[in-house]
């Protein structure tokens, strides 16, 4: 070290020594109960309570007997826990002559949801990929129509779709329903995938083309393996969306194949005397369980995927 520098250090050292005794040192102290923290966590906890309250009430109610519900407070925990409403909701609640609760609908829902999710995501991801990377002439027009289509109330489309499916001879089959779900999932999913693939460096795509990969090879070998986050988002959105669907489920299926939501509707709306709130709540929770589990299990991936795909307009 040169002398010049050494001198500087020495001189500065003297100044500092005096201050060192009194002045603050090290990390700025952070009180756990600072005003900021109290405000921050207080607010968060309050809001969290608000968001959790309905779930709590549903759960508590589903464990009570009807007399307790009629007399008691909806927020009070059950005095006497009974699982009967759950059993009834799952296995014995009646709609018309069918008294097997939601149980049958569960597997129907699975049978509907799985192929619908798969097909709709495949279609949308290929669309998004074609739009983002292969921009052929006029592609954007179709995309705009698709986006505007996201605003069309489903009900309006029931008739045209009935006609289209009838003409295709698919009405009433599982594949008809899969197509319907693919159609209505297409706008948002395509938007997600398109944005995501547009954010993949274009050079990668070019490199693959120079390497002689065609449309499908690039899709399967290059794009798909990189699109995991956005696939997670798409799967979550579709699983919940399709699982929760009532309208198409009821119109495009038969009693044997009614999804859970239709049976939920039947249980909740088949009022026999008084409303059995406890059974309704149990049925509601049971129906919502799959999407809820999906969310609780993959919330973190969802946020990451959203960040990757949705935000870039």
């Amino acid at each position: 070290m040169s002398d010049h520098a050494a001198l500087n250090v020495a001189a500065a050292g003297f100044d500092a020594i005096a201050e060192e005794v009194s002045g603050p040192r090290g990390a700025k102290p952070r009180r756990v109960l600072s005003r900021r923290n109290i405000f921050l966590y207080g607010t968060l906890i309050l809001i969290a309570v608000y968001y959790l309250l309905p779930l709590y009430v549903m759960f508590v109610t589903s464990l009570k007997g009807m007399p307790e519900i009629r007399l008691g407070n909806i927020f009070a925990p059950p005095v006497e826990i009974t699982f009967e409403p759950w059993v009834k909701a799952w296995a014995t609640a009646c709609t018309g002559l069918n008294c097997d609760g939601l149980s049958r609908g569960f597997w129907n829902s699975v049978r509907i949801t799985v192929p619908s999710v798969i097909v709709s995501i495949i279609i949308a991801s290929v669309n998004g990929y074609a739009l983002a990377n292969w921009r052929f002439k006029g592609a954007d027009i179709f995309f705009i129509i698709l986006i505007v289509g996201a605003f069309i109330p489903y009900q309006v489309m029931i008739y045209p779709i009935v006609i289209i499916l009838r003409e295709m001879g698919l009405y009433g089959s599982l594949w008809g329903l899969v197509i319907v779900h693919s159609i209505f999932g297409m706008p948002i999913l395509t938007l997600l995938f398109r944005n995501y693939f547009a954010s993949v460096p274009e050079e990668l795509f070019k490199a693959a083309r120079v390497d002689g990969a065609g449309f499908w090879a690039i899709y399967f070998k290059i794009m798909l393996p990189m699109a995991l986050p956005i696939f997670v988002v798409a799967i979550i959105l579709q699983v919940t969306g399709i699982w929760n669907d009532f309208l198409f489920g009821v119109i495009y299926t038969k009693p044997d194949t009614y999804p859970m939501t239709v049976q939920l509707n039947n249980i909740v709306n088949s009022v026999q005397g008084v409303k059995e709130y406890n059974v309704n709540m149990a049925a509601t929770i049971l129906t919502g369980l799959v999407p809820l589990i999906v969310y609780f299990a993959s919330g973190r991936l969802f946020v990451r995927g959203i960040a990757a795909g949705a935000v870039k307009g």
């Binding site: 029931i158 009838r166 009405y171 009433g172 038969k254 039947n266």
Partner: protein
């Protein structure tokens, strides 16, 4: 053979009645696949229509007969039951004749009427009046007069569910009761807007105004929840069709003892002949087509008719059955029917479109205290004027 039958009968009494059909049909060696859709006709009908037009029809489906299924029949989607009807002589056994007329288009029969329903009933809770310390009313006016006492006792004088059809239904019951059969026919059959705007109907609106005041506190949606209020004595009465009787029955109540029924609101003892009917969409499968016939004839079978209608609270469509098991109220109805004091059903006179407009109007009227009867009447007359 399995036949899928769709309907929207999911309340306690209704479900019990349907099971009679199913039992009878299953006894023929076929199988009834129940396709109940809860939430009432408005939820179920789009499903039925979509499936029929979509080319994946069920084997049989409930419709209110009348004009609801007309276009489906015209489009050739429904099965012609004329052969069966001739063979089983429906024309002779079904009464009143208007029921079969509702199923007939161009001389062909397309549906099987299964019951006679009438709307014009006031159901009263004896317990409620007892607790309020007033005698059980004998007619509408007494009922209105008793309302303050009921209210004082902490009861809802009149229970009406929030669904639109219940509100317009109550009004349509008030018309023949307050203004008489002629006015009713002028308005709904002849679509006479002048009468609709006239003083007779104004009186009906006055009564409806009373009704909505009495019903101000009823916070339920479904008709059977409203009925339940009467059954439990929380409400004084309810204007509802005879199907309400099924609920009283399921609750183990006895007519005359626990509850009182006043046909025609105790003023004009008239009843309408609404009814339910089953339609049979055309199917490709010949097995099923054959089974459809079995189902139709099962439904009209005398034994099934009795069993079904007793549970449903309605009147059988055939006169040649034994109804000794019928209760007090049903007997009253049968009496009136025998006397011929019948009026056509509103459903048969109006298109669903008009009915729906009436629903909109009356649900608004009943739930909007600030809407004057005069305003409502003006809109009422407009709807009648525009109706086909």
């Amino acid at each position: 053979t399995d036949l899928e039958v769709t309907h929207w009968w999911t309340s306690g009494g209704e479900a019990a009645a349907v099971s009679e059909f199913a039992k009878a049909f299953n006894a023929t060696g076929n199988k009834w696949v129940d396709g109940a859709i809860a939430g009432g006709g408005n939820t179920a009908r789009p499903v039925m229509i979509s499936r029929i037009t979509g080319g994946d029809p069920m084997a049989a489906t409930q419709f209110n007969h009348g004009r609801q299924a007309e276009e489906l029949v015209e489009a050739g989607l429904m099965r012609d039951l004329t052969d069966l009807a001739t063979k089983e002589k429906w024309a002779e056994i079904v009464r009143p004749k208007s029921l079969l007329d509702g199923c007939t288009l161009d001389g062909k029969i397309y549906c099987a009427p299964i019951n006679i329903h009438s709307w014009q009933w006031l159901w009263l809770s004896n317990k409620a009046f007892e607790e309020a310390g007033v005698p059980v009313p004998k007619n509408w006016d007494e009922f209105v007069a008793a309302a303050p006492a009921l209210e004082k006792a902490g009861k809802i004088p009149l229970a009406i569910g929030g669904q639109p059809w219940q509100n317009s239904g109550a009004f349509n019951v008030l018309i023949p009761a307050i203004a008489g059969k002629d006015v009713f026919l002028k308005v709904y059959q002849d679509k006479d807007a002048e009468v609709a705007a006239g003083p007779e109907i104004a009186k009906v609106f006055k009564a409806a105004d009373d009704a909505r005041k009495m019903a101000a506190k009823s916070n339920v949606q479904d008709w059977n929840q409203a009925t339940n209020l009467v059954i439990t004595g929380q409400a004084g009465g309810q204007i509802m069709g005879d199907w309400a009787q099924g609920e009283f029955q399921v609750a183990g109540q006895v007519a005359g003892e626990d509850y009182t029924c006043l046909p025609g609101l105790g003023v004009n003892e008239l009843i309408s002949t609404d009814g339910d009917a089953f339609y049979f969409p055309k199917l490709d499968d010949p097995e099923k087509t054959k089974a459809q016939e079995v189902l139709a004839s099962t439904m009209l079978n005398p034994k099934t008719q009795v069993a079904f209608n007793l549970k449903k609270g309605s009147v059988p469509v055939r006169a040649d059955v034994d109804l000794t098991a019928a209760n007090d109220c049903m007997k009253k109805g049968l009496d009136i029917l025998a006397k011929g004091n019948v009026i056509p059903a509103v459903n048969q006179l109006n298109t669903e479109d008009t009915n729906n407009q009436l629903n909109d109007l009356f649900v608004e009227f009943f739930k909007t205290p600030s809407m004057t009867p005069e305003d409502a009447q003006k809109r009422y007359a407009d709807i009648i004027a525009a109706a086909e």
